[in-house]
């Protein structure tokens, strides 16, 4: 068991013939993900790697392949359209990897996707992986190992760091999810925490947050009220100066809200373990399982 994706996930890749799309499609196929189709307008009829059919529209791809999941690697100015196309074509789980999507575009996309009954992960996220079964996105497969720790994070390489430390310590993962660092995204911490709580194979959760916004505080409240499984948290940006944007559009402290100290307080108040360093996850999780 796992959350959001497993060995039965059937995936189409939007932007499959692009530079990033083709590179990561090969990686996903090598990992064992069932990539059943791709979409690049104008390249319909071609085969990717002599194997995967390419379609002009998502609608055609879904009709022909029955795919239930889509991953998006198109350039930022086209990402909003690609997400809406996937939702309109009946895809139920949409993973948008694209970085740099204009935020106002997402204010239109988010309610549209919701009304179509689909789930969006991202944009500006590394995707997710259920070790040994399926990966959708760009998380390096070889740092993961199957197990029962759920991982959820706002950042990419920091997720890799923690997963790498867990794997080195012999602690496998049920599913690792990167929700992305943009101010408006499709899936938040609470969505993932609720899914992990319901997943019988997940025994404990590692959660990596960042400065900016109140998502971590909201997650802490949810954990306190609804979770029976142990959660260990970390906040990146404890040394960040206020008012500066730290790469992620989301990682900005405005005024007194969104600071690392405030979030760590919320974690403690929710009875969570608090990792001071990425390596601390190993001992804190082990002590709670």
């Amino acid at each position: 068991m796992s959350i959001f994706i497993d060995r039965n996930t059937t995936l189409i890749v939007q932007g499959i013939t692009g530079r990033d799309g083709s590179f990561h499609t090969k990686q996903m196929m090598e990992y064992g993900t069932r990539v059943v189709g791709g979409v690049t307008p104008g390249k319909g009829g071609q085969k990717f790697e002599n194997e995967v059919p390419v379609f002009n529209t998502v609608y055609q791809a879904v009709e022909q392949t029955g795919a239930n999941t889509s991953v998006i690697y198109v350039p930022p100015m086209y990402a909003a359209d690609a997400i809406m196309e996937a939702a309109d074509a009946g895809i139920k789980f949409i993973v948008a990897i694209t970085e740099g999507v204009p935020v106002l575009d997402m204010t239109r996309v988010y309610p549209f996707v919701k009304e179509k009954g689909a789930r969006l992960l991202g944009p500006n996220c590394p995707g997710l992986i259920t070790p040994g079964e399926s990966k959708v996105g760009i998380i390096p497969g070889r740092i993961c190992t199957p197990g029962n720790i759920g991982v959820v994070s706002r950042s990419g390489t920091l997720t890799y760091e923690v997963v790498y430390q867990l794997t080195r310590a012999g602690m496998g993962q049920s599913t690792c999810v990167g929700i992305g660092g943009d101010p408006i995204n499709g899936t938040n911490f609470i969505d993932c925490l609720a899914a992990f709580e319901a997943d019988p194979n997940t025994k404990a959760i590692a959660m990596m947050g960042e400065i900016g916004g109140t998502d971590e505080q909201d997650a802490a409240t949810f954990i306190k009220e609804h979770m029976t499984k142990p959660v260990v948290g970390f906040i990146a940006g404890q040394t960040a100066p206020p008012g500066r944007r730290m790469g992620h559009a989301g990682a900005i402290i405005s005024g007194s809200s969104g600071t690392a100290a405030e979030k760590i307080e919320a974690f403690k108040a929710a009875g969570m373990g608090v990792a001071k360093r990425p390596i601390d996850f190993v001992e804190l999780l082990r002590a709670r399982m």
Partner: protein, 381 residues
């Protein structure tokens, strides 16, 4: 990206927002000429990207063109929160009967632009929000439909009782919303929105921040960027496609990914050191980026050690290793370097580094501890 008050006012004027006339100047003589043209009382306002301009003495009233010139000679060149004033806005002074606040911010919680209006304008709106939240009306807008007339009128009635003023304010709400949407803003505010004794509703100050992600489709806005308002190293970094923020410490950090970069800075602090910067080389694996990163970091004389922390995913660690070798061959390092690499093509990267006389670790804690020790002038642990 923040733009200056005078630039924000131009964008609002284009939508029809009533704003007193004004022009920008860079010399006291220009200020005098503009004041003469406007006639009557003028306000001379420093154009810098920081709040608290008034408190710092960067906003002053002048009764005559001669006084405006005199004031400008003091404001031009002054420093406000570390930023030098190169430009001032000279604008007609308005008589004020009351001041309100009107703003739109992109809200993460509702995933919508949210109007915030308050009849208690002119001062820090965050303070109003904290102390007297009942004086603020928040209204989220569904961008698929835009601001509806009934919503604009609801906002207007929260500010005024007099129907004429309500209508004037509602019109301004619509114009502000247009400016926000058209320019892909993440913040647009008018503070204060004043009523004159004659009953006119006017925008006296304006602030707009543009979403950096959207600059690719707004060449006109991208051109408004004022590089004199930023640290030289940060401008250089952006031109090299790096995200760089200068800090006070002495451990120069080069990391891939914003989250890991922040976690690395935190770990430097954890082991008793102080990071000299935030630097994210991003996801692509171009050796040129590493060369630029090293150049920018070593330009800072306070940096005592360079710390690389690279977790290869999309980024290939061998590309980073090649970048380090290329950069240090062209400009030999005068300070120690500590390298942590793991992930994609790690074995090749380690070999490249060893062949060129560098050592590298695959453990983050080990590398950070070592860098902190070196920065303190001690031997590596």
């Amino acid at each position: 990206m923040n733009i200056h008050e005078y630039q924000a006012k131009e964008l609002l004027r284009a939508e029809g927002v009533p704003i007193p006339p004004g022009e920008v100047a860079t010399t006291p003589e220009q200020v005098e000429a503009i004041a003469k043209k406007i006639g009557g009382m003028v306000v001379v306002k420093a154009q810098v990207h920081t709040g608290g301009r008034g408190k710092a003495g960067g906003v002053k009233l002048a009764k005559t063109p001669a006084e405006a010139k005199e004031i400008a000679s003091k404001i031009l060149g002054m420093k406000i929160n570390g930023l030098t004033v190169y430009t001032v806005l000279v604008t007609a002074a308005a008589d004020i009967a009351s001041e309100a606040y009107v703003g739109i911010i992109l809200d993460r919680a509702t995933k919508k632009p949210v109007f915030m209006v308050s009849p208690a304008g002119g001062i820090d709106i965050e303070e109003v929000a904290a102390k007297t939240p009942e004086k603020i009306l928040k209204l989220p807008i569904d961008t698929r439909y835009g601001l509806q007339p009934y919503q604009a009128s609801e906002l207007g009635f929260f500010l005024f009782d007099d129907v004429k003023k309500v209508r004037a304010a509602a019109k301004i709400m619509g114009q502000l919303y247009q400016a926000f949407m058209k320019n892909d803003a993440s913040l647009a505010e008018i503070n204060p929105l004043v009523v004159t004794p004659a009953g006119e509703v006017l925008a006296l100050d304006a602030k707009i921040s543009v979403d950096d992600n959207a600059l690719d489709r707004h060449a006109d806005l991208a051109a408004l960027r004022d590089e004199t308002a930023e640290a030289h190293s940060e401008v250089e970094a952006r031109n090299a496609n790096l995200t760089f923020i200068k800090l006070e410490g002495n451990v120069g950090c080069v990391v891939n990914g914003a989250g890991l970069a922040m976690a690395t800075m935190d770990l430097v602090k954890y082991y008793g050191g102080e990071p000299a910067n935030f630097l994210d080389i991003g996801g692509s694996s171009n050796p040129e980026k590493v060369v630029n990163a090293l150049r920018i970091i070593t330009e800072d004389p306070s940096v005592k050690v360079i710390l690389f922390n690279i977790f290869g995913g999309i980024t290939r660690t061998d590309d980073v290793a090649n970048g380090i070798v290329t950069a240090t061959k062209a400009n030999p390092l005068k300070i120690p370097i500590v390298i942590r690499l793991t992930g994609t093509n790690e074995e090749i990267a380690m070999k490249i580094l060893q062949e060129n006389g560098f050592s590298a670790s695959s453990d983050m804690d080990e590398a950070v501890e070592k860098a902190v020790a070196l920065a303190k002038g001690g031997k590596a642990a």
